[in-house]
């Protein structure tokens, strides 16, 4: 059992949990993820590690309530426990001294890019970060990102905070202003990551994205997480989750993510009906 030690609501339907998980926290590196299972009937859901506090054995995750499982997770409170927390899984980000690095986080991709940005900063890079959200109230982790970035730019789709537009607009601006970028890490919705790679491809800027296909075991034994990178099939859970964005077949990723869309809706409807009935 893994106990929840801290719960914070970062934005409407975006929550942060700290779990008591010393074994995983001790080993976790930026870019890795965990799989969790809430209860006996629960599915195995992968979530990126937002932070790992080695001394206190705390593992931090941030998630958006979208389907049944994340909504149910959101109803848990400090003191509650989930039955399984497995990890750290996947290959860590390749942290080295690149020079100038741009870290891009969209939506709940921001907490995922945060440990990567911090490690890149510690490795001696100049870190320029761009974070974006649909609207002001959904923008999260601004202070944290600020603390690990040399420069921080912010966009909101509706213009309710700082600059109206997409993270790619800020990226284009940096490029047009002649900022020399050695490497980009982008984490966020698939369309955002695809858009980033479309911007950087003509300039041949190394662009690393973190893929979020459907996963099951997340240890390389089922293949549901297969993605196409450079025309080759890879298992994102063990070969990734980070890949060279210019080689990723995003269209395939989008299609495969829709495999269970009907079931996910059925499961969610049932959950909401039940929640409504039980108050």
């Amino acid at each position: 059992m893994f106990k929840i030690l801290l719960k914070k609501e970062l934005a409407p339907s975006i929550k942060l949990f700290e779990f008591d998980a010393p074994l995983i926290a001790r080993k976790a590196k930026p870019g890795q993820f965990v799989v969790l299972r809430i209860n006996e009937e629960g599915e195995r859901i992968p979530l990126t590690i937002a932070d790992a506090k080695k001394d206190s054995g705390r593992l931090v995750i941030v998630f958006q309530e979208v389907g049944k499982s994340t909504k149910l997770l959101g109803t848990l409170n400090v003191g509650d426990a989930i039955i399984d927390l497995i990890g750290p899984l996947g290959k860590p980000s390749e942290i080295e001294k690149y020079g100038t690095v741009v870290c891009i986080g969209g939506g709940v991709g921001t907490p995922e890019i945060y440990p990567v940005a911090r490690a890149l900063k510690q490795a001696g890079n100049k870190v320029i970060s761009i974070i974006g959200a649909r609207s002001k109230n959904l923008l999260i982790m601004e202070p944290e990102m600020k603390s690990v970035s040399d420069e921080l730019y912010i966009t909101t789709d509706d213009g309710t905070y700082v600059k109206k537009g997409f993270v790619t607009d800020e990226l284009k601006r940096l490029i047009s202003e002649g900022v020399k970028i050695d490497c980009i890490f982008a984490v966020g919705p698939v369309i955002m990551m695809k858009a980033v790679t479309d911007v950087t491809r003509p300039y041949n800027i190394k662009t690393i994205v973190s893929l979020n296909p459907i996963m099951l075991d997340a240890t390389g034994m089922c293949g549901v997480c297969r993605v196409e990178v450079g025309g080759e099939t890879k298992f994102a859970c063990v070969d990734g989750p980070e890949f060279d964005g210019h080689k990723v077949n995003f269209d395939l990723l989008v299609k495969r993510l829709r495999t269970y869309i009907k079931d996910e809706k059925e499961s969610l409807d049932l959950f909401e009906k039940h929640s409504a009935e039980c108050g």
Partner: protein
């Protein structure tokens, strides 16, 4: 002595029409009367050939004759001397290739139903509720880590804890049992039986740590700092695909995924359980082994109108247990023999729609002794399918070799270990089961666990590698 009855006493089972609508076990097992009559068919040979046919050399005439005498407790005692998981082996061993194949009765009639009798004795014990706990040797103070809770790891852990060592069993998944829980379906091996065996091992004193991925949560080298020896029984969990055009369309599963969803995650009970599975109407399963039969039969139970087995050789070459092929045929699985898929076609949403195949013919025998399939040029044809399950095999999971630099592996990624001792190329590390042999059988994995346990005990006592 009266002449034995020519045929095995049949085992009563659910009718095919009934059972394709549920996930309950197909056969019911023998009653006491049936078991006794069947056991009396055994001639109790002085030099029993069946014993040599059993990979763990169970005293077969010994346990069968006790059943004939209605000494069921005695029978289970004899079985357990060599096989700690008889309820499982009685159900899943390929007896027709092992003990029953070499039974002397085969010369004239059907062999003794050794597997059914083994299962009977084990079920009798479980029903009686009295399971004798073995004596444990005094504590040695030595600590052993076992990685992987499949048959190899369970047997190794159970043996070592009885020898007085402190044993921790690490399992990556959230449930112990290996293929027995995630692969083999409920209708063939009820999960309650596996659970019973796992609980038994825990009662013996083995500490079980599930959801612990060795290589990630801790490496083998880190384990070696805390433990005096490590056993690797991590199985052959890496699924093979065929690298065909269109293989990543939605609706195309590896057998591992299909079976893990259905068995481990209980997707057949969705939405009561959260994990979904595609309930295809026309399901094509590629392969001819147990894994393929299990997948195709699972598809039927999930509501497929048509469940097909696509196999590139002919019926005689199929490696699946005969009983499972027979059950599959009865249930209406359609077999497309001498057929090789070469390409998939999908719809605009990226869902599989059709599979293009080639017809094959059989040529000369290959390395496995089976006739090699050769494709017939120009024989392309299409099979419509909305779900495809690729069940052509699996190889060892590379996670541990990748994170344990000085562990030697063979060219198929299998860990190299001595057959007679289970010793790997790394001091203090033993290995056995599918991770060493490649995908094989439950009984062979158990046998390997037992052999390694013996030599590990030696090593712990003497310190000599």
């Amino acid at each position: 002595m009266p002449k034995p009855l020519p045929n095995k006493i049949p085992m009563r089972e659910q009718t095919p029409q009934e059972r394709v609508k549920n996930f309950k076990e197909v056969p019911f097992g023998y009653t006491e009367e049936e078991a006794v009559i069947e056991a009396k068919r055994c001639l109790a040979c002085k030099k029993p050939s069946c014993v040599a046919g059993c990979p763990v050399e169970i005293d077969i005439p010994g346990f069968v004759s006790r059943i004939a005498e209605k000494d069921f407790k005695g029978a289970i005692k004899v079985l357990k001397q060599k096989n700690v998981l008889p309820a499982i082996c009685g159900r899943v061993c390929p007896q027709e290739d092992q003990c029953e194949k070499v039974c002397v009765l085969c010369k004239k009639m059907e062999p003794v139903a050794i597997g059914r009798l083994e299962r009977f004795a084990a079920d009798w014990e479980a029903k009686s509720g009295i399971v004798d706990m073995p004596e444990k040797k005094p504590a040695t103070g030595k600590r052993v880590a076992v990685v992987g809770a499949g048959p190899a790891g369970l047997v190794f852990a159970g043996d070592l804890v009885q020898m007085g060592h402190e044993v921790t069993l690490f399992e990556a998944l959230h449930k112990a049992g290996g293929v027995l829980v995630y692969g083999i379906p409920e209708f063939r091996l009820p999960k309650a039986i596996v659970q019973r065996e796992v609980e038994y091992i825990e009662r013996l004193g083995v500490k079980l740590m599930t959801s612990f991925v060795v290589g990630n949560t801790q490496t083998v080298d880190e384990l070696l700092q805390e433990y005096d020896a490590v056993f690797l029984g991590t199985g052959a969990g890496l699924p093979w695909f065929m690298n065909l055009p269109g293989e990543n369309y939605s609706g195309i599963y590896s057998a591992n995924e299909y079976l893990v969803r259905s068995n481990l995650m209980k997707a057949y009970l969705f939405p009561q359980y959260d994990t979904p599975i595609v309930r295809g109407k026309r399901v094509a399963t590629i392969g001819g082994g147990n894994v393929a039969m299990d997948s195709a039969r699972t598809a039927l139970r999930l509501g497929a109108e048509k469940s097909m087995i696509i196999y590139r050789r002919s019926k005689t070459e199929m490696p699946a247990r005969i009983e499972e092929v027979h059950h599959a045929e009865e249930e209406g699985i359609q077999f497309e023999f001498l057929t090789l898929p070469v390409k998939y076609y999908g719809d605009e949403n990226g869902w599989v729609k059709e599979m293009e195949c080639l017809r094959m013919e059989l040529g000369e025998p290959d390395a496995s002794g089976r006739r090699r399939p050769i494709n017939i040029p120009g024989s392309e044809f299409r099979i419509p399918a909305d779900t495809v399950v690729v069940a052509i095999g699996q190889s060892p999971n590379p996670l541990i070799p990748q994170t344990t630099p000085d562990l030697q592996v063979g060219k198929h990624g299998n860990i190299i270990a001595d057959e007679k001792t289970g010793k790997s190329t790394k001091k203090g590390v033993f290995a056995g089961g599918d991770i060493v042999t490649g995908a094989a059988t439950v009984i062979l994995a158990m046998g390997a666990g037992r052999i390694a346990a013996k030599s590990c005990d030696e090593y712990l006592k003497t310190g000599i590698w």
